[in-house]
Symmetry: C2
Subunit: 388 residues, 2 copies
């Protein structure tokens, strides 16, 4: 397998982006990624475009966004794996280069969730699992699915609402330092705990926001990266993927996401590293509980010990393993298709020692980072390990 | 790059399939593919699921269909490239094995177009291009797009309505021999020419039907194919992909599809073969004119000479290069996401000398076959060259 490097990344402002259409929003990430990689559009041989889409007027938007960005002629596919779509596109783009089919490939993720009204969007998100059985018959929404996991974790391990709130407080702290983040304000325990209840124990501040945004990643072969004189290629060291039952009723418990366990073990094995080797990670915190589950599923903490990690500041900058120090999905925002590529953007910047604020730049020791992107309620999972 | 073989294929009955839900329809292709490859579900490491979807109640159906087929745990992505989605999934699945990430990977395509009413489906298909500009503003539908190409070809090269009809007659002739085909009846010149006008010069019998169906392909590394004792592995010899402008108004002419030209040249180059070496081909005949364009774009005929090929029977079984002798999209049916995988099914059977009827088995000389799958009006194209 060929070595593959991330050589360019780009990121739009996340937020309510009524000021741009979906093509313009996509280009906001594509343009800086091309500049970062010092390549131009016709150099890119294959583009994997991530969007859950479906709900837009332009319902099959890949070709429209690609034309606007100047990719006409390149191989093109739209990748969808619910909230892990961005990582599925990254993986597809990675395979193009790793296999030898492409020397330069791009993954770009975009979502413009505010284009449809909120109830429609909530229903759309709820369809990520087994819609006809669980959503349609039982009225399960996406927060309700994760509330099952939160209440099970609380019952089994004594995790508290305050522990969940700590995750939100950390997210907002770092979101406030990230110019791309949707929420750039800190929050506190009172505000989180008193925010309105969505699905017990999850309150408004436990939930990632509906959001618009895009992120792009350019991947190159070792030879191409050399030829372009890339200063600091960031190598794709390991990738892993897995899926789980559509029906949550078929799972043995709600204490963790099996897909995260399987995908991360594959990625660790391929990279030849373990969780203790990582300098920084971005995990899928669509809800605060999801970040705690991730710590345990990915082997950052023992089962039942995730809350302790947050309480003791171990996942802050300067802690044992900084996690989501860009604000995470919770504060940075979660424009579904963009999220996976946004994680790679952040980790590439961290590994290059180029975080936008020194206050949130992690110290580099082993030059290793991990991205963990979940689709649905653990229906899909992709894990990527990067190395400087 | 590792050698990759098709080791198992499966195909559902195409037609109006109100008797099954989308998961059951998917499994109708998955089950025979697994049996053909002599593997079981847990052996499959990665599944690329093709469906344009979006219009179904179960709008993100990959995980639901995967659970039903027993793929829970495998890496999973849904691929969408409009009508080329099946080939995008095949390509993704191919990359998994070629790169060394997987030893066994599956591509499965499914569409259940009759689940929504026909006007909704027609609008959905019309969205494959630049919806907001051309469909929404000017009322262009999918037949209207291809009618532009047909009328331009007629004006430039003297192609006639009778020439288009010959393509339909050939399609129905072979569809009548194919137990999986939606239409299993022959047709004749009078019937085609007198069928109602959809968008001049395209009549009802010039159009592929709205249809339900599925097809599945299992890909393996050389070592895995050997280990399984596969008698006749069918090797993926070349692949090519391209895209074109979303807006048809930005194209220089309507005489051919540039994406088909580019994708096929890439595939020929990778395979080290030319159009003259092929024993059989399946091309994207969503409309009769599309088959003629394909002959010219793929280099089967000189520009303006495609109609001659059909008139002289060169693309019949026994002719110079048999094309779409399974009935093609026109008579076999075109369940969008399934089509790309259905082409690989047919060509694998042909190369194995296992066509379901001896009357439509092509003679094998070079043991080479080509699949050509277009998304939208040449918005996407994937070309695959297989070798026994």
């Amino acid at each position: 397998m060929r070595k593959v490097a991330v050589i360019g990344v780009g990121h739009s402002k996340f937020g309510v982006r009524k000021d741009v259409n979906l093509s313009e929003l996509t280009y906001e990430a594509v343009k800086p990624a091309l500049e970062d990689a010092t390549v131009s559009m016709p150099d890119i041989d294959f583009v994997a475009f991530a969007t859950v889409g479906g709900m837009y007027e332009e319902s099959l938007p890949a070709v429209v966004a690609a034309e606007y960005s100047g990719f006409t002629g390149a191989g093109l596919v739209r990748c969808e794996a619910a909230c892990a779509s961005g990582s599925a596109a990254f993986y597809t783009s990675y395979l193009n280069v790793a296999s030898g089919m492409s020397d330069l490939s791009m993954a770009v993720g975009m979502e413009k969730m505010t284009e449809v009204d909120t109830p429609t969007m909530m229903e759309m998100i709820g369809r990520a699992g087994s819609y006809l059985w669980e959503f349609h018959n039982f009225g399960m929404t996406f927060p309700a699915y994760y509330a099952l996991y939160a209440s099970a974790h609380m019952a089994k391990y004594g995790t508290t609402e305050e522990d969940l709130a700590e995750v939100a407080i950390k997210a907002h702290k770092y979101g406030a330092m990230n110019p791309h983040a949707r929420f750039q304000k800190e929050t506190d325990m009172d505000q989180v705990l008193s925010s309105f209840l969505v699905a017990w124990p999850l309150k408004l501040y436990d939930c990632s926001p509906i959001c618009d945004g895009s992120a792009a990643v350019i991947l190159a072969s070792e030879e191409k990266a050399k030829e372009l004189g890339i200063d600091t290629p960031i190598w794709v060291k390991g990738v892993g993927h897995s899926s789980d039952t559509a029906n949550l009723s078929k799972r043995s418990d709600f204490l963790g996401l099996q897909a995260s366990v399987t995908a991360s073990r594959k990625a660790y094995k391929m990279a030849g590293v373990g969780p203790g080797d990582l300098d920084v990670a971005n995990v899928h915190d669509c809800f605060t509980i999801a970040e705690l589950l991730a710590y345990e599923d990915l082997g950052f903490a023992e089962r039942g010990k995730a809350a302790e990690m947050v309480r003791e500041g171990e996942t802050e900058v300067g802690g044992r393993l900084p996690v989501n120090v860009d604000g995470g999905l919770k504060a940075k925002g979660h424009p579904i298709g963009a999220t996976g590529c946004s994680m790679i953007y952040e980790l590439t910047k961290q590994l290059r020692d180029e975080a936008d604020s020194r206050k949130r730049q992690v110290p580099l020791k082993n030059n290793l980072a991990l991205a963990h992107n979940v689709g649905g309620t653990g229906h899909y999972c992709y894990v990527t390990i990067l190395e400087r």
